[in-house]
C-alpha cells in the first residue's frame, strides 16, 4: 500500500520547493502578524473608534443629566404646590384646633374654687384628660408644640419677686405656638410624603413594572430628595462628595406670599423657577457625577462597551472623572435651561396670540419642544449622522482589524497563494508529470502497484501540506505571543483554527489537483485544469471579499459577493471562527470530504486508465 522508495523519491524531487515555499510563507506570515500587530494598523481605527465611543458615552451622560434635572425640577414644583395646599388647609385646621385648646386652657380648674386639695387634684386630672383630641397631622403637631410650650411655663415659686415672674410669664406667652408656624412644619412633612407618592406614580407611568423598591424609582427619588434635602437628612450626600451643603429649602417665601394672597403668582414666577432650577442643577450634576463614578456603574458601562473592545484602562484614559462629569452635567443642564426658556417664551407668546386652540395643544407644544431640546443636546456623533453613514461608522468601530488582516487577508487569501502554487506543481509532478515524461514506467515496472503509487503520492501531497501548515502554525503562535494586542479577539484557539482552515482548503484543492493529475496524461492539461480551477477559486475569493460583510459597508461592493458562491475557499469561514460560532465546523467537514472524495476518485481513475509509458 505504501512505497517507501517512491515516497523518498517524491521527497527528493519536491523537497527543495517545499522548503523554499514554506520559508517564504512563514516569513510572510511573520511580517503580516508583527507589522500589523505593532499598533500602526489600528491607530487610525482606534482614534476613530474612541471618538465614536466617547461621543456615545457623552450623549448618555447628557441625556441622563437632563432627565435627572427634569425629575428634580418637577419634584420640587410638585412639592411647592403641595406645600401651599397643605399649608392653607393646615392653618385653617390648626387655628380651629388652637381655639379649642385655648378654651381648654381657660377651663383649667383654679385652686381657690375647691374646698380641699383632694377634690382639686381630681378636677385637675379630669381637666388634663379632657385635652382636645387631635386627628389631623397639623392638629397633632400643634398639640405637640402646645404641650411643649405648657411644660416650659414659668413656675411662680422659683421667682423671688412678682416683677421678674411677670416678665418671665410675658416672655413665655410670646412663645405660644401659632397655627401659622406649626402649620409650616406639618405642611412640610405632608408635602414630603406626598412627593414620594408622586414620584412613584410618575415612575409607574414610565414603566408599569416598576415598584416602590425598583432601582430606577429609588434612583429618581434620590435625585429629587437630594435636591430638596428635607431636614438636612441628606447632608452626608454632599459632604461625602466634598460639596457645600445647600441652604434649607425655602418655604418661608411661600408662607409669606400665602399671607399676602399672591402665592400662585409667586409659584409660577421666574424668581421661584430660577431658585428651583439652580438648586436642581446643582444637586443633579453632583448626583450624576457621583452615580457614574461608583464601581458598580463603571462595571455596567464596561459591560456594554466590551463589544467595542474597550478595556478599563482605555475607559479611564477617556477622563470620566467626578469633576469632569459634574462639569459636563452642569453645562448640559445650563444649555437645556437656556434653550427651554427660549422655546417656552416663544410658545407662550404664540399662546398669547391665540395660536393654540386649546390648552392641551399648548401643553403638547411645550412637551414637543422639550423633547426636541433633549434630543438635540444629547444626540451622539452617530445619531447626528444619516443612518447609513452612522451604521457604517459603527461597523468600522466594531471592526476587528487584526483578525481581518491575519484571518481573512492572510490565511484566506494572500497566504494561500504560495501553498496553492506549491500544491499545483507537486500534484502535477506526483502523477501526471511522471506519466507525461514516462518516468512512471520505472516505478510501475518494479512490481509497484498503481494503488500503492497513488496512495504514496497522495500521502506525500497531504503530509507535505500538513508539514507546511504546522510550520505556519508555529510561526503564527510565536508571532502572536510577541505582539501586544489591545483590541483584537485573536487568540491561540482561533489562530489554530485558522491554520487548520487554511490546511483544509489546501487539502481540498490538492485533492482536486490530484484528481486532474490522475485523470490526464499530459502535464499541461492536468495543470491548466486543476491549477486553473484552484487559481479561479483564489481569485474569486479575493474579488468576493469586497462583497462580504467583513468589509465595512462604505467600501463594500455587494455585487462581488456572488464570487463567493463560485469559490470553494468560501467554506473557510473566518468570520465564524472569529465569532466562535459553530458554522465553520460543518464547512470544514465539507472541505475535508471534498478533498477526500477527490483523492479517492483520483486513485480509482488512475488504477483503471491506460498509461502511455
Amino acid at each position: 500500500m505504501f512505497s517507501k522508495a517512491l515516497f523518498k523519491q517524491s521527497c527528493k524531487a519536491n523537497g527543495l520547493m517545499w522548503l523554499i515555499i514554506t520559508i517564504m510563507e512563514c516569513f510572510m506570515l511573520a511580517c503580516v502578524m508583527c507589522i500589523s500587530g505593532s499598533g500602526n494598523i489600528g491607530s487610525t481605527k482606534n482614534t476613530f473608534e474612541n471618538t465614536i465611543i466617547t461621543g456615545e458615552i457623552d450623549s448618555a451622560i447628557e441625556k441622563r443629566s437632563i432627565t435627572y434635572y427634569a425629575y428634580a425640577t418637577d419634584g420640587l414644583k410638585t412639592f411647592d404646590e403641595d406645600f401651599k395646599n397643605y399649608y392653607i388647609q393646615d392653618v385653617t385646621d390648626s387655628t380651629i384646633y388652637s381655639a379649642k385648646v385655648d378654651a381648654w386652657l381657660g377651663a383649667k380648674p383654679v385652686l381657690t374654687d375647691y374646698s380641699d386639695q383632694e377634690t382639686y387634684l381630681a378636677a385637675i386630672s379630669t381637666w388634663q384628660n379632657s385635652f382636645p383630641t387631635y386627628e389631623k397631622e397639623s392638629e397633632k403637631i400643634y398639640a405637640y408644640y402646645y404641650n411643649e410650650w405648657l411644660k416650659a411655663a414659668p413656675d411662680s415659686t422659683k421667682f423671688t419677686d412678682q416683677q421678674t415672674y411677670l416678665a418671665a410669664v410675658n416672655a413665655w406667652m410670646a412663645q405660644k405656638p401659632q397655627p401659622s408656624s406649626t402649620s409650616a412644619t406639618s405642611a412640610y412633612s405632608s408635602a414630603v410624603t406626598s412627593l414620594e407618592t408622586h414620584i412613584e406614580e410618575e415612575m409607574l407611568k414610565v414603566d408599569s413594572t416598576y415598584t416602590k423598591d425598583s432601582d430606577e424609582v429609588k434612583e429618581v427619588k434620590g435625585d429629587v430628595f437630594y435636591a430638596l434635602n428635607p431636614m438636612h437628612n441628606f447632608d452626608s450626600f454632599f459632604t461625602d462628595n466634598n460639596e457645600e451643603i445647600p441652604a434649607d429649602y425655602d418655604v418661608t417665601n411661600i408662607v409669606l406670599h400665602i399671607s399676602s394672597n399672591d402665592v400662585d403668582t409667586y409659584l409660577s414666577s421666574d424668581e421661584r423657577y430660577n431658585y428651583i432650577s439652580d438648586r436642581c442643577s446643582n444637586s443633579s450634576s453632583i448626583f450624576i457625577a457621583q452615580n457614574l463614578t461608583t464601581e458598580s456603574s463603571i462595571n455596567a458601562i464596561m459591560d456594554s462597551l466590551s463589544e467595542y473592545g474597550i478595556t478599563r484602562d482605555l475607559y479611564d484614559s477617556f477622563g470620566y472623572t467626578y469633576s469632569n462629569l459634574k462639569h459636563t452635567a452642569n453645562l448640559t443642564i445650563a444649555s437645556y435651561q437656556a434653550q427651554y426658556d427660549y422655546e417656552l417664551t416663544n410658545i407662550n407668546k404664540n399662546y398669547a396670540d391665540g395660536k393654540y386652540a386649546t390648552v392641551d395643544e399648548y401643553k403638547e407644544a411645550i412637551s414637543k419642544a422639550n423633547d426636541e431640546i433633549i434630543t438635540n443636546l444629547s444626540s451622539s456623533l452617530i445619531a447626528s449622522l444619516p443612518e447609513e453613514i452612522s451604521n457604517a461608522l459603527e461597523e468600522v468601530g466594531k471592526l476587528d482589524l487584526y483578525s481581518l488582516v491575519v484571518g481573512t487577508i492572510f490565511y484566506k487569501m494572500a497566504g494561500l497563494l504560495l501553498p496553492i502554487i506549491y500544491m499545483i506543481m507537486v500534484s502535477n509532478n506526483l502523477i501526471a508529470g511522471q506519466v507525461d515524461s514516462g518516468s512512471m514506467a520505472y516505478v510501475l515496472s518494479t512490481s509497484t502497484k498503481r494503488k500503492t503509487v497513488t496512495f504514496t503520492q497522495a500521502s506525500y501531497s497531504i503530509l507535505s501540506l500538513l508539514g507546511m501548515f504546522i510550520c505556519t502554525t508555529i510561526t503564527s503562535c510565536i508571532c502572536l505571543a510577541n505582539v501586544h494586542l489591545t483590541s483584537s479577539s485573536l487568540d491561540y484557539p482561533r489562530l489554530l483554527l485558522m491554520n487548520l482552515g487554511a490546511f483544509l482548503v489546501l487539502f481540498a484543492l490538492s485533492g482536486l489537483n490530484f484528481l486532474t493529475s490522475c485523470t490526464f496524461d499530459r502535464s499541461k492539461r492536468s495543470m491548466s485544469i486543476g491549477g486553473g480551477l484552484s487559481m479561479f477559486a483564489l481569485v474569486a475569493t479575493m474579488l468576493g471579499l469586497f462583497g462580504t460583510d467583513v468589509i465595512p459597508q462604505v467600501i463594500r461592493l455587494t455585487a462581488l459577493d456572488y464570487f463567493n458562491y463560485a469559490s470553494i475557499i468560501t467554506l473557510f469561514d473566518v468570520s465564524s471562527i472569529v465569532d466562535m460560532s459553530t458554522t465553520f465546523i460543518w464547512k470544514f467537514a465539507i472541505l475535508f470530504a471534498f478533498g477526500l472524495v477527490c483523492y479517492i476518485a483520483g486513485s480509482i481513475i488512475f488504477k483503471k486508465k491506460d498509461l502511455p509509458l
Binding site: K4, L6, K8, S439, L444, S445, T446, S447, D610, P612
Partner: protein
C-alpha cells in the same frame, strides 16, 4: 507453457490506429525481434504486455498470468526499457539506480555495477545532462539489475552511435545466452536479424509475418550476381538455362537463383567464361519482408 502469449490482442484507438488481433507466442529463452515502421503498433503491444493499457479485446499472458490484471505481479519478472527515456526527478544516475534498487528490494548493487563497467557508464553524471546513449545505458542497467527472466526492450538502440550499439547489443545477447526471454522491438532489420531467434513484422497494427532467423539464414537456394567482361560470354551464359532472377543486359549482369547443392554446377559452367565479378546477394530480412508485403499488397 509459453513465457509470453498474446491472443487476439486488440487495442483500438480509432482511425485505424492501434493494434488488431495480434497473436504471438514467445517460448522461454527465446529472443524475438519485433519489427515495424513508426506507429505500426510495436509500443502498444509492449505496453499491453506490461499491463499499462487495457486491451479492447483479447488477452496477453506472461507466464500464464493475464497482463492487465496481474501487472504488478508480472512486473517482478520483467525488465523493461521504455522507448522514451525519461528519468524521475533525481540528481545523478547513481541516485536513480539506488532508488530503483530500493524499489526492487535488491540487497546488493553488484550486478548493476558489473553492467555499468561493461557499458563503460559513468553513473555519477547528472541525469539531466546525460547524452541519449548514456540515458539508454542507464535505463538498460535499471531494467536488468533485478536479473529478471523476461526482458522487454522498446527500440532500445535508437539514437545510439554504431560503436555504442554494438556494446549495447552484446550485453543483450549475453542476457539471451543466459536463457532470458527477450522481446525487442526495432525499426531496423539489420539489428534484429543479427541477434534474434525469430522476427515478427507488424504493419498498421497487424502482424504480417513471423519468421525464424534460421529459415532466412539457411535458405535452400541463394542468389548470385555475375557480371561478364563481354557480351558474348553474357549471351553464352544466358543460354545455359539457369534460373535468372534479374537480367541487366546493359551492364552484362545477371542475377541467378541457385540451389545450394547445385553451386558446383554453376562454377563448372563459369569456367570457360570471362567473369568480371561474382557475388552472393544475401537474403536479408528486409528483402524477405519486402517480398511478403508485395504479396500482401497484391
Amino acid at each position: 507453457m509459453d513465457t509470453i502469449e498474446i491472443k487476439n490482442l486488440t487495442k483500438d484507438y480509432g482511425n485505424k490506429r492501434g493494434i488488431f488481433d495480434i497473436n504471438l507466442t514467445i517460448k522461454k529463452g527465446e529472443m524475438l525481434g519485433f519489427v515495424g515502421t513508426n506507429g505500426s503498433g510495436k509500443t502498444t503491444t509492449i505496453r499491453s504486455l506490461m499491463g499499462f493499457i487495457k486491451p479492447t479485446s483479447g488477452h496477453c499472458f506472461i507466464n500464464g498470468k493475464e497482463c492487465w490484471k496481474n501487472a504488478s505481479e508480472n512486473a517482478k519478472n520483467i525488465g523493461y526499457v521504455p522507448g522514451e527515456i525519461a528519468f524521475p526527478d533525481l540528481k545523478t544516475g547513481n541516485e536513480f539506480l539506488k532508488n530503483q534498487a530500493e524499489f526492487l528490494h535488491l540487497k546488493s548493487g553488484d550486478y548493476a555495477n558489473e553492467m555499468t563497467k561493461k557499458l563503460q557508464l559513468d553513473t555519477s553524471a547528472n541525469l539531466k545532462r546525460m547524452s541519449k546513449g548514456m540515458k539508454q545505458k542507464t535505463a538498460l542497467v535499471a531494467a536488468l539489475m533485478g536479473n529478471p527472466d523476461i526482458i522487454l526492450l522498446d527500440e532500445p538502440t535508437t539514437g545510439l552511435d554504431p560503436l555504442m550499439r554494438v556494446a549495447f547489443m552484446n550485453l543483450i545477447e549475453e542476457e539471451h545466452h543466459k536463457g532470458k526471454t527477450i522481446l525487442m522491438s526495432s525499426h531496423m532489420f539489420e539489428e534484429v536479424q543479427e541477434s534474434c531467434d525469430r522476427v515478427a513484422l507488424i504493419s498498421d497494427g497487424h502482424i504480417i509475418d513471423i519468421v525464424s532467423m534460421n529459415d532466412i539464414k539457411n535458405r535452400p537456394c541463394k542468389d548470385y550476381k555475375i557480371e561478364f567482361l563481354n557480351k558474348e560470354d553474357f549471351k553464352k551464359f544466358m543460354e545455359l538455362g539457369f534460373n535468372a532472377a534479374r537480367v541487366q543486359k546493359k551492364y552484362n549482369q545477371v542475377t541467378v537463383n541457385i540451389k545450394n547443392d547445385e553451386i558446383n554446377v554453376l562454377f563448372k559452367e563459369l569456367k570457360g567464361l570471362k567473369v568480371k565479378f561474382i557475388s552472393e546477394i544475401p537474403y536479408t530480412l528486409k528483402r524477405h519482408f519486402d517480398e511478403v508485403l508485395k504479396v500482401e499488397n497484391n
